[in-house]
């Protein structure tokens, strides 16, 4: 029996070796129009639809060039698989750029590995949440929304909308992340400068405990309590995307404000909460979705109390990253370290006003020259 097993392994291995090789050579002939590929890694559909669909969209736009794969569903506990998923992209000899998109930490080792094995591949994050200093050191291009500055802008915007209080919801493992913790500090500072009340609440931790359910359940109970205490002119901010299903839902009931979500997007929470039925052809029509939200907001008397970005940052960044990677590969003269060029590129390709900036780990620290953070113009519903 043992011998049979051994034989089986050998035969299968040999067979695989040959067929495997044959397959890759066949691929070469039928490749795409371009003679390179770009790999993009996103979370799974059920974890985060935006990034997944954005990447899928790019894969459809550039068939044969963009290759889209996903991270494990149960990400935090199965990092190992995530790592091998990323490095599997470097297995393709034509691979020229790898883009990793995930609101998670711990993927950096894979990119390091890629840099080590295939230094010719451009590595890009859009974004991952590892330590910024390390990311800047090991990854070619890092893109992200401007966490720290958003601490200021959100507070300012909430103030403009008329908020008296800002409530900040987060939980231990999130607060343990540098940028989130800095954003909170910035928000608190701005808030106090503008004379608003600052309330900080810690929710049950979805990453270490029993998943998101207890956290959301807590929000359900806590939001009415807080609004009861501080009044409806309160802006609520949560650091974790799933929170917004409850936050937006409660916002419609309690009439408080949400100036911006943690990942500002019309596609997060709104469709679920408002029961939007988005037809297939409208799937990428953000203006239409925004209008639908505005209508519902008006119907609920919430006009001007909800805000966001016109296009989801989580859709924009992955797509921008893909375009940027293609530009960098096709046009070696393009200076990706120049912020102005990046802004211009965004305007050229997407038609949105975007302002990129170099990220600084500390307010007075040095800027990282390959770590760019962006902010979009906001809209109000």
């Amino acid at each position: 029996m043992k011998r049979v097993i051994a034989l089986l392994i050998t035969v299968l291995l040999l067979a695989g070796m040959f067929t495997g090789c044959a397959r890759s050579s066949a691929d070469q002939e039928t490749g795409g129009t371009a003679d390179y590929t770009i790999g993009i890694v996103t979370p799974t559909l059920s974890t985060s639809e935006d990034e997944f669909r954005a990447a899928q969209n790019m894969a459809e736009k550039y068939p044969g060039v963009v290759k889209h794969i996903t991270l494990p569903e149960n990400f935090s506990t199965e990092i190992e698989t995530g790592l091998s998923q990323i490095s599997s992209l470097a297995d393709d000899p034509k691979m020229k750029a790898i883009i990793v998109v995930s609101g998670q930490a711990g993927l950096l080792p894979a990119l390091q590995k890629v840099e080590e094995v295939r230094p010719d591949i451009i590595t890009m994050t859009a974004p991952i949440w590892d330590d910024p200093a390390l990311m800047s050191q090991y990854v070619d291009v890092n893109l992200d929304t401007d966490w720290v500055r958003r601490g200021e802008t959100i507070a300012t915007k909430a103030h403009e909308m008329g908020a008296q209080t800002i409530i900040h919801y987060s939980f231990p493992t999130h607060l343990a992340k540098e940028v989130i913790s800095q954003r909170k500090d910035a928000m608190q500072r701005t808030c106090e400068e503008l004379g608003m009340k600052w309330v900080e609440v810690v929710t049950p931790d979805p990453q270490t405990g029993d998943g998101t359910a207890p956290m959301l359940q807590f929000l359900r109970e806590d939001l009415p309590r807080q609004i009861d205490k501080y009044g409806a002119d309160t802006n609520v901010f949560g650091t974790n995307c799933p929170m917004y299903d409850v936050i937006i839902d409660e916002a419609f009931k309690q009439k408080f404000m949400v100036a911006e979500q943690c990942c500002p997007t019309p596609l997060q929470a709104y469709p679920t909460v408002l029961g939007l039925e988005i037809s297939e052809e409208d799937a990428w029509n953000f203006d239409k979705v925004n209008n639908m939200i505005s209508e519902k907001a008006a119907a609920a008397g919430m006009t001007g109390r909800l805000g966001g970005w016109p296009m989801p940052a989580t859709v924009f960044l992955p797509q921008y990253a893909v375009e940027l990677a293609m530009k960098m590969i096709e046009d070696p003269g393009f200076d990706y370290k120049d912020v102005k060029q990046l802004n211009q590129f965004a305007l050229d390709v997407f038609g949105y006003e975007v302002s990129f900036d170099n990220f600084k780990a500390k307010a007075d620290g040095p800027a990282f020259e390959n770590y760019f953070v962006m902010i979009m113009d906001t809209i109000l519903y």
Binding site: Q56, E200, V201, V202, D210, E221
Partner: protein
Amino acid sequence: MRNFNIKPPQIIISLFLITLVFLAYALEMNLVILFNESLVKLVMNGVLVLSLIPMLNVGAGMNFGLPVGIIGGLLGMCLAVNFRMTGLYGFFAALLFSLVICAVLGWIYGLILNRVKGREEIAGTFIGFSFIPLMNFFWTLAPFQNREMLYPIGGQGLRPRISLENYFNNILNNLYVIRLGDIEIPLGLIGFFALIALFLYWYFKTKIGRATIAVGENEAFSKLSGINIAQTRLLAIMISTIIAGWGICVYAQSYGFIQLYDEPLSMAFPAISAILIGGSTGKKAFIFEAVLGTYLLQSMYLFTVPIANAILIPELTEILRSFITYGIILYALLVRERRRNMV
């Protein structure tokens, strides 16, 4: 008749809770609102805790395979939402669908557990773990038509969270609410809970119910007395599964969302620790213990977070909570086995 002797976990949790109430009072929190919420939380989680009772009493141990029943309930609700059934009608349709689905799932689950007698707990854990990804396949591929349930962009596969706003959100919570001053008593919700508790009470009074308890207490005796052990166990496991399915329906209507994909996984541990806090030994459980335990545990959850936010290091609360949950389950395992060894 039955003496509920007080055990260490109950004392610890009760003392903890009393301290919390005092703290809440000292911090000028609105105790009435907290009380109102504690009632809702009791029922919201209580049905799931009740669902553990038949399995415990038939000797199949703590149901770490709770996700099996929960998935049945989720499926039932998804069907109801898919056919756009709303209001009470929608909710009861969901209950009906889950009843059928859970009966089938429970039957299969019971057959498996009968095979692994004596190891139900560990087997249940992994049956739950492996059933989840299997169902994830289903959620992603199932041909549901209601676009409110589907991914907003892609149009195929169910969303991780489906809002019940337009269907039967809070349908029980808002049914026959009686207001006594500031105190709100949701009669409909509590009534539903009471009905299920009553059903269990009735079940254990019937002939088959008495046989169930006998099998759990002394399987060999029951066998000598001509009881069909396998069938009795199967029935108890099916009832457990069905009530678990209904439990998630009650939970979801109160919560406002149907939560799919990996969410059911995290429901088993809090439910189990609730019944243990109530004083169950993990070998046998009374309805009273389930209700008491759920109330203690959920009120503790309710109180800790706002209080700790006010006075303690915020992180501490969440960690302490998981510490208590697992600590109590471990305690129950130790005590139960020691008792068995002593007999």
